[in-house]
């Protein structure tokens, strides 16, 4: 099979680039140092297209398309930033901040949080829409980790890494709409989970301070999701 037909030429923000046909717009853009904000996406995990921050304009498409799940195509004309897209992204980010209780200043992830970083990157200095202040629990029953639903953005990275990489399927999502909650097993305390292997991958991939190690408090929390792509390759390589 020749590599030739697998190359697509497209433009991103007017710049002509080439990409492999199996690449998403996001992958192609990042390869060419074009920044597209994401939250649910994480290299090494399946895509869910849920955070809506990577929406881009594709000429000819009726709607904005999520860059993470849209494959490149020949002649595609992609715009990753425009006043309209930026405005939408900012508002989406505001919705994230308003729906739960993200108190950055006292969060374990302060300074190491993808949501916080996004607010900086997108220039979101304040939230125009009213905060909801839901009452949400903290589950500290696990000996090593804590889940604080106040800080969860429902990106489902924990659910995916637990299912796709660790294979434990401990994490899931319950409820729906604004009542959605990530859970372990039958919503038991995490410490009582029968399936959790305590591998801690969920903590490492969590973009915010929702999942954290009990010892990483103060200003010390650092997440390390870099291991994922390697693990994925290892796993896939092992398969017959």
């Amino acid at each position: 099979m020749s590599a030739e037909p697998n190359v697509r030429t497209l433009t991103i923000n007017g710049e002509e680039i080439s990409a492999r046909s199996d690449q998403s717009i996001l992958e192609a853009a990042r390869e060419h140092n074009v920044e597209i904000p994401t939250l649910c996406h994480l290299e090494g995990l399946s895509e869910v297209g849920a955070c809506r921050l990577c929406l881009v304009e594709v000429k000819g498409a009726r709607r904005l398309l999520p860059a993470c799940v849209t494959q490149v195509a020949e002649g595609m004309e992609v715009t990753t930033h425009s006043p309209k897209i930026d405005r939408y992204r900012t508002m989406i980010l505001e919705m994230y901040f308003a729906e739960r209780n993200h108190v950055c200043s006292v969060c374990v992830a302060n300074g190491n949080c993808e949501l916080q970083d996004l607010s900086l990157k997108l220039g979101m200095t304040h939230v125009e829409i009213p905060y909801q202040y839901p009452q949400l629990p903290v589950d500290a029953s696990h000996p090593r980790f804590t889940v604080d639903h106040n800080r969860c953005v429902l990106c489902t990275r924990c659910v995916r890494v637990c299912s796709e990489i660790e294979g434990a399927n401990t994490w899931g999502v319950m409820g729906r709409g604004a009542q959605s909650l990530v859970i372990t097993d039958l919503k038991q305390p995490w410490g009582d989970s029968e399936t959790c292997t305590s591998c801690g991958k969920c903590v490492q991939v969590c973009p915010t301070g929702a999942l954290f190690e009990k010892t990483s408090v103060g200003n010390k929390t650092r997440k390390h999701p870099e291991f994922l792509p390697y693990l994925r390759i290892m796993r896939e390589g092992e398969q017959p």
Binding site: G49, R52, R63, Y88, M91, A98, E99, E128, A178
Partner: protein, 547 residues
Amino acid sequence: MNTEELQQIAAGGQEERDKFDYEVNVCMGTSCLSQHSDRIRDAIAKEAEACGKKCQVRRTGCMGPCAAGPMILVEPAGKLYGHVREGDAKDIVEALGGEPVARLDPELGSYFEGQNFVVLENVGHIDPEKIDEYIARGGYQALLKALTEMNPASVIEQISKSGLRGRGGGGYPTGLKWDTVAKVKGAQKYVICNGDEGDPGAFMDRSVLESDPQRVIEGMAIAAYAIGASKGYIYVRAEYPLAVQRLTMALREARRRGFLGNSICETQFNFDIDIRLGAGAFVCGEETALIASIEGKRGTPRPRPPYPAVSGLWADPTLINNVETFANVPPIIRHGGEWFSSMGTARSKGTKVFALTGKIQRTGLVEVPMGMTLRQIIFGIGGGVPDGRKFKAVQTGGPSGGCMPEEHLDLSISYDALISAGSMMGSGGMIVMDDTSCMVSVARFFMEFCMTESCGKCVPCRAGTVQMFELLTKITKGEATHRDLDRLTELCEVVGATSLCGLGQTAPNPVLSTLRYFKHEYLAHIDEKRCPAGVCELSPAAVEVHA
């Protein structure tokens, strides 16, 4: 099964019916049944037997004007009775062959004028639990024709030619959809019938499934043949127990008669259908969510593409159409695509079933050709607004649709006209409102619906609907400012443009359409702290926070 056998069954049925002088057809739809139409039927049968008249008392499906139920259709006179009680049995039987019972006149006026039954052609005439009666009315001729006289491509050609568009709301050309799935390579393909009637306030699909289930099965079988599927699913709402029961029976009957299973009609074609129950999630009306639900998972949509046509149920090519769409298929194949396309408007062909409800004289199920005006339906068929009140708006398209004011009453119904008027066809709910309805509250009602039905996967829908709902609540309480109104408009734009699936994308529509036509009502709440319809309780001491 071949043509002859089919004709034999039809003839046998006719013979049976010819033995009687009269037919009393008693509606056994959910609505009439809840008023004990089964007991009424028994009472009439008893009376008929007692008086010795050759009278067949039959169960049929919904006849449409549910509010006048329990309904009875007496043949050959073609006389309809409404509001029938058990005690009326004797009079009904006595009146057979003579003057009808005057007090049981349902007073339907011009209810049936202009209606054109294609999907509902059999209702009132057949017993939904008896497949032979369906066959006697021409049922399964289309499937037989397709299997024996046509190849899949020509079936699709007829559907394309008919101009049929998806009746679930989107209006995607059915022929094109079939063609796409047919062209995708795949050893296993699926046909799914979406019976998760989405719109709250509509019951077209329920009615069809309860009254004429074989029609849907036949439509699905034809589709399966056309696209090369061997397995089908009907996804029905669990809230429709009668529909589920009738469907279950219908599937069994269809299998018994050989319209489902292996070597259907003595051809190579194998196809069978299973029922899957919905469990109370509006979002499962969305194709990818519905597929997830059939797979036994949470009904959350996923980004498209890939479309189900390419990667659907268990990642195989899958065709999804709704109940009414499939119900249109057998007559199209029977009479040809051109016959169908002769009805309707340039870009919206055929008929459409609507559930006409709300503040209207005559409520019920109606089927009208595309192109009829809203005024004809509401004031002609429906008889206008009761109690001397003033018409204010008509809502179509359910939570994804919009409210249209009086000045749009002369709009001819078509997919495109409704969209340009800020609403949409939807699956066929048509809710009439009079001047006692507050349009801000109506918008709030729909937003609450979307908020509680949001699956929660993507943030614009999950959080945006909550924000919009709270802003609308604030307006109805008289606590909102113009800045809130601006924010509401902005949220509408962002949620509509960025949500993952149709639920979120269309959730702002009821707000946008009411803002478009009834902005003065919003402003009255905000500026004058007053609800023009007198519905909202505004707090007089509301504090204007913003300058």
